[in-house]
Symmetry: C2
Subunit: 337 residues, 2 copies
């Protein structure tokens, strides 16, 4: 094979490969997602579709289905639970966009900017109720019990983030507490749910939950790094979106440790939130430190922890995809920076 042939081979991303391996199941997820957001009240599917139709990687349903496959479960039985994870995620995005006053989401105007805060709050409630309904239909009370804990912990994580906004002095454990609640819990629940569908839930569900927890931590750290490194075209969100909202994430936290003068810049930025320049100055200054590399190293620790949890599953194509996806979390950040 000559060099030009190599360079013209398109790179197939691990997520694309994993999703292709799931074939019809993921198409079924899309179909049920669409059905579940229907209502005789036309504004509801309209707002839902604005968000669900704007793309989104469907990473939560993908993980749940792969975990079901790795646990030798029937994939058909996993579709409704996969839909539920995506519905909860979208409900929380609708509410987050009200809370954060974000302008862009998945490359399009955030729902509250188009439909208003009221519709976004209510459609979020609608999707959350529908998602609980789907898991109820599934009939596993223990999964439901854990789900309600995860959903209340998501709200707790978001409230913690709200309380701690504007503080560059947030500690690493404080940051991890926030992202564990707001992000990792739902990943963990989805992976547990997928593995619990197979013939050996007692042997696999806990390991699956731990994989999901570590995966979710790595995923959120990578997302927080992208806030500093990715262009709006790449992330589908505003540059330094978190920073503008006063959110202290891992890159800033590590940046301040390396460059203590950053603290006063953060205070200045918090004092004039409508002014863009101080935020951009902070981004430039953070990028001059080792913060991004250190944050990615932290994410990779979580990735490794996730991968280690997969040992009990044995070798299978699905387990292989899960490993690839775990590594892809940080790889995609490196590609963007």
């Amino acid at each position: 094979m000559n060099e030009s042939a190599v360079s013209s081979t398109p790179v197939v991303h691990p997520l694309t490969q994993a999703q292709a391996s799931l074939g019809d199941s993921l198409r079924a997820v899309e179909l049920v997602l669409d059905q579940t957001s229907q209502s005789t009240v036309q504004l509801i599917p309209e707002v839902s579709h604005h968000l669900l139709g704007a793309g989104g990687k469907r990473i939560r349903p993908t993980l749940l289905l792969l975990m079901a496959q790795a646990a030798d479960a029937d994939l058909d039985s996993a579709v409704d639970l996969a839909v539920a994870t995506e519905l909860f995620h979208n409900a929380s995005l609708l509410h987050d966009d009200v809370v954060d006053r974000g302008h862009l989401r998945r490359g399009v105007a955030a729902a509250p900017r188009v439909y208003g805060n009221s519709a976004s709050v209510l459609v979020g409630d609608f999707l959350m109720a529908r998602a609980f309904g789907m898991v109820t239909q599934h009939g596993d009370l223990e999964l439901l019990r854990q789900l309600s804990l995860v959903i209340s912990a998501m709200a707790e994580g978001e409230v913690l983030q709200l309380i701690r906004s504007g503080r560059a002095t947030l500690s690493l454990p404080g940051y991890e507490e926030i992202i564990s609640g707001k992000t990792a819990g739902l990943f963990s629940w989805g992976c547990r749910a997928g593995a619990s569908l197979g013939p050996r839930p007692a042997a696999l569900a806990e390991a699956a939950a731990q994989f999901g927890q570590a995966f979710g931590m790595a995923f959120q750290i990578a997302d927080d790094v992208l806030d500093y490194t990715a262009s709006p075209e790449q992330s589908g969100k505003d540059l330094a979106n978190d920073l503008r909202q006063g959110k202290t994430t891992l890159p800033l936290l590590l940046g301040c440790e390396q460059d203590p003068d950053l603290l006063s810049l953060v205070e200045e930025a918090a004092a004039s939130p409508s002014n863009e320049e101080p935020c951009l100055a902070i981004v430039r200054r953070v990028l001059k430190t080792e913060a991004v590399a250190l944050a990615l190293a932290k994410a990779e620790q979580y990735t490794q922890r996730a991968v280690d949890c997969l040992d009990v599953f044995g070798k299978s194509p699905a387990a292989g995809h899960l490993v690839e996806l775990a590594h892809y979390i940080t790889d995609r950040v490196k590609l963007s920076s």
Copy 2:
């Protein structure tokens, strides 16, 4: 007994009497309500307590407990479900106060005015998740399934109200569709849940649900009438709160049928929403028509329908309290006007 002795006898309201008959169960509800809104994230119990501690009549828990008692159920087993109804109601109030931008609730500043929209949205989510968790603990999947339908229908009712705001030409069926979703559904579910705890759920649960549905319709109509007749001291809300938010409720709808000139006043008011005078002019004009009397007559039809549903329960003190409460819905409006 002389006249002065009669006039000094305090009037004991049916709600007070009913609640006194429930004794410890209602105290247990308060205790569990408080426990369930606890969190290591201090702002969450603070916001919850701002709303839950400001009073509220606890009418949903009261109905559920009375219905359990009327169905010969053990009241202890009903406490958690009673707490769940109150939690859902409070979660929805927190979200409504974001949606409606109300200033007063239960006589104190609405939570979003004190803690901001973000905290109100997130604490609402937290309480909703906790409420689903409590019903999950109870373990009746059919009740859970119906609950998720009720909660999504609550959001649908609220969205309908949002879409139809500013329209004085709303039809009676259109109005009833809104209040059935946003209010009557949760009453209906709570009554069904209470009756399902007894030894004869197949015979009683459906009648209980129909009682709750009709009770909820009467309750919301009465609440909507109070928006026109009660002072802020009586209602704990701003006068003409609904009207200021462009909500067309039954008194306005009936007022416009009797006095077609009201339509243009409503359009004027909608054009300058910050101006208070046009709203107060509409209230005065509505009160000159028969609208309030007609609305109360409609509520009384629902009350009668509710009372008729109780026949299958036979006579008992609890059933007697339910009848009294149903009649009290409209009586308290007459007392206030």
